[in-house]
């Protein structure tokens, strides 16, 4: 019998298993334990959550392997970790550590301003951020097996994630109205391979799982993104920067499962611990906006 590993089916398949779930940023094994207990379907292991990266400034890099190993040893759910855009050596290191998914992330300082990682070369699957359909399909062409919106990480402000999700879904809706003759020129406008554009039109959605990320701070934010078409939700600073992380984690997990049920949403939103304080987008100078990183 032929047994094949690292196929696209296997890489994209893990993301399919995460659907309807919440992936939580954690900075210690204790956080990871709290997240798993609350029903996170995966955790993102990193040294600082995005709001702290934003506050501290400087170059943000891959986390120390000892931190990632500590989290892998603590929880039985899949563990993700971030590498800088284009930093394929950081990616090799994470693959060697046994990380289950790599996030090539604009939250860290980019290592390459021209090229993203050639993700086909890796056995471990990658998730990448996007602001629109063209960016999503370029990342998939490079081998990404999962997509997420970029949003604006570390702000607790959902507005950018909404913008990015609506851009993707709106473009797919327009695409489905197009004939073959329009498709090629639309692919050129998107800057995406025509075969992936065609596949997207046929299936009426991105060819891989698409999560929301960047600014989710409350159960209502999470449910909003699900109603806009997200397959699941990443929560970065929103859980462990809230007053009561265990309760906030539990509430967001329930909101993602029951995103269409207003009674459940009212219930889990009641007397919630204080959410992270959040930043108005216009208060962030253009050069400090993380979503602008990558192309």
């Amino acid at each position: 019998m032929v047994v094949e590993t690292a196929t696209q089916t296997v890489k994209a398949g893990l993301a399919q298993m995460l659907k309807g779930g919440v992936i939580m940023d954690v900075v210690t094994p204790e956080h990871a334990r709290i997240a798993a207990e609350a029903g996170a379907c995966s955790v993102m292991a990193l040294e600082r959550v995005p709001s702290d990266i934003r506050a501290t400034g400087g170059v943000a890099r891959m986390s120390d392997p000892s931190l990632i190993r500590g989290i892998i040893d603590t929880v039985s759910i899949p563990v993700m970790a971030k590498v800088r855009i284009g930093h394929f050596v950081e990616a090799s290191i994470l693959e060697a550590l046994g990380v289950d998914y790599i996030d090539e992330s604009e939250v860290l300082t980019p290592a390459d301003e021209a090229f993203h990682i050639n993700k086909h070369q890796f056995a471990v699957p990658f998730v990448c951020g996007c602001r629109d359909l063209g960016e999503a399909l370029r990342r998939i062409a490079e081998g990404a097996a999962m997509i997420r919106t970029k949003g604006e990480a570390g702000t607790g402000n959902i507005v950018e994630a909404v913008r990015h999700m609506r851009a993707v879904q709106g473009a797919i809706a327009r695409l489905q109205q197009m004939g073959d003759e329009e498709l090629v020129s639309y692919a050129r406008d998107l800057g995406a391979p025509v075969e992936l554009v065609r596949e997207t039109r046929e299936i009426g959605r991105l060819p891989v799982v698409n999560f929301a990320a960047g600014g989710v701070a409350t159960p209502a934010d999470a449910a909003l993104m699900m109603r806009l078409g997200a397959d699941g939700v990443f929560v970065g600073s929103g859980i462990f920067k809230s007053e009561d992380p265990a309760r906030m984690a539990d509430a967001i997990v329930r909101a993602v499962t029951h995103y269409q049920d207003d009674d459940v949403l009212a219930d889990v939103s009641t007397n919630l611990p204080q959410a992270m304080s959040g930043i108005e987008l216009s208060d962030i100078p253009e050069p400090e906006r993380l979503a602008k990183r990558g192309w």
Partner: protein, 220 residues
């Protein structure tokens, strides 16, 4: 509603708390059944069988408890409601589970170990000898899959891996409960879905009124 054979079209539920329930629903449609997403006790009462999909077993187990679905599901399983667990679902159905930190359904006499092939980079695709399903090889996708370490009396092994995995079981059935450690819903092959639909059809065609009534009364 009936199909061309005069049987009622069965409502096959898919537990939709977390995981790849939409993929199962699509496979069921391709195989000619009516899928029904199940998130509440009320929805659970309208199904002729239930698929517990792939996903994260710790997450699904927690949500089963949080929404008071665990006890009713155990009761329905004991009374013969057809249940099929894939991967995480198979874990939740096993009587003995190695490395799960919370209670599950524990309905099928077998022992499974979570994530026992390794981490994601060890996930794989294989083609299985079709056994009782007939036809060509069955494509099977194993993602951070559990391994069935032992099965109890009366459990039928339907499918096995090849020699390089010592022909270990990957699809097993015990009366009205089916478990696969791989994901038929990630392939175009609907043979196992059709098998489960038949199990649901049999149950729907041969209702045991006293039991059904007792169950509904209990759930209501």
């Amino acid at each position: 509603m009936t199909n061309q054979h005069g049987s009622r079209i069965v409502n096959v539920g898919v537990l939709a708390l977390q995981g790849d329930f939409a993929e199962h629903a699509a496979s069921l449609r391709r195989a000619g059944a009516q899928p029904l997403e199940v998130r509440t006790l009320e929805q659970l009462q309208h199904v002729d069988g239930l698929i517990i999909p792939g996903g994260e077993s710790t997450t699904i187990a927690r949500l089963l408890i949080a929404y008071d679905l665990r006890e009713p599901l155990i009761e329905l399983g004991r009374r013969g409601l057809p249940l099929w667990g894939t991967c995480a679902g198979a874990i939740l159905l096993a009587e003995e589970i190695i490395s799960l930190d919370r209670p599950a359904l524990h309905l099928m006499p077998m022992t499974v170990e979570r994530n026992a092939f390794g981490r994601q980079i060890d996930s794989f695709e294989a083609h299985l000898e079709p056994g009782p399903f007939g036809g060509g090889a069955i494509p099977a996708v194993f993602i951070r899959a559990p391994r069935i370490r032992s099965v109890g009396d009366g459990v039928d092994v339907l499918l096995r891996l090849g020699a390089e995995h010592d022909h270990e079981p990957v699809a097993v059935q015990h009366q009205s409960i089916l478990a696969t450690t791989f994901h038929p819903e990630l392939t175009a092959d609907t043979r196992i879905h059709r098998h489960f639909i038949e199990m649901c059809q049999q149950r729907a065609d041969n209702p045991r009124p006293s039991e059904a009534h007792a169950t509904l009364g209990r759930l209501g």
